[in-house]
């Protein structure tokens, strides 16, 4: 096995270990039902310790998993993602943002009727629309990068 293949295998093993760790953490998260101590009263009702531990663990899991996943990719795959991130993400954001603004200016109600039209809901709509537009642009650009190199 050459160096590159060994590195890829090592990264895959680390990702597998992380997944096992996340499963163990989920068990802790579900079983630890006591309220989180020292929770500020102004933040509302304290969640269970398990939920806090699980949330923190999930954040660490995602960060490490992304790191090892990135290192397991070869250079062309990394290049495809970087290109798609820049061009697809930015163009998707611009096009999607423009579509949302034009729709809003023309009186189109983008929120479902059953959702209260509060400021919070409108901000959330903007965040979701921006993310969806970038993700769609990213996906299209990523496919385009590989299609052009087939």
């Amino acid at each position: 096995m050459n160096t590159e293949a060994k590195t890829a295998a090592a990264n895959k093993k680390k990702m597998d270990d992380l997944t096992v760790g996340l499963c163990a953490l989920t068990v802790v998260g579900v079983s630890a039902t006591a309220a989180t101590p020292f929770w500020p009263a102004t933040w509302g009702q304290a969640p269970s310790i398990g939920v806090v531990v699980l949330a923190a663990g999930l954040a660490v899991f995602l960060a490490l998993h992304t790191r090892y996943w990135w290192r397991s990719l070869d250079e062309a795959a990394q290049e495809a993602h970087k290109w798609a991130w820049w061009w697809g993400g930015n163009l998707g954001f611009i096009v999607g943002g423009a579509a949302v603004v034009i729709a809003a200016l023309n009186g189109v109600d983008l929120l479902p009727a059953r959702v209260p039209h509060t400021d919070t809901a409108l901000i959330a709509l903007g965040v979701v629309a921006a993310f969806a537009a970038q993700a769609m642009g990213y996906g299209i650009a990523w496919c385009g990068w590989w299609m052009a190199r087939r």
Binding site: N2, E4, A5, T7, A76, A148, R149, R150
Partner: protein, 66 residues
């Protein structure tokens, strides 16, 4: 979407009766990357070019020709 270089990867691979998957495994890249390289639609980094050079036992300029 073509490179400024032509390369002889496919020739050297065929001489050894390797499939694209065989070459990809030895280089530590995906088969899609080998395909893009062979078609001249992706230029390798310098480290990958050196790995290719070592694998075929030829200088880089014998594999990638401007």
């Amino acid at each position: 979407m073509t490179s400024d270089f032509v390369n002889r990867l496919k020739v050297f691979r065929a001489e050894r009766n390797w499939t694209q998957a065989d070459l990809a495994e030895q280089l530590g890249v995906s088969r899609q990357t080998v395909q893009a390289l062979e078609k001249g639609r992706y230029d390798p980094s310098l480290p990958l070019a050196f790995r290719i050079s070592r694998l075929f036992g030829r200088p880089i300029e014998a594999i990638f020709v401007q």
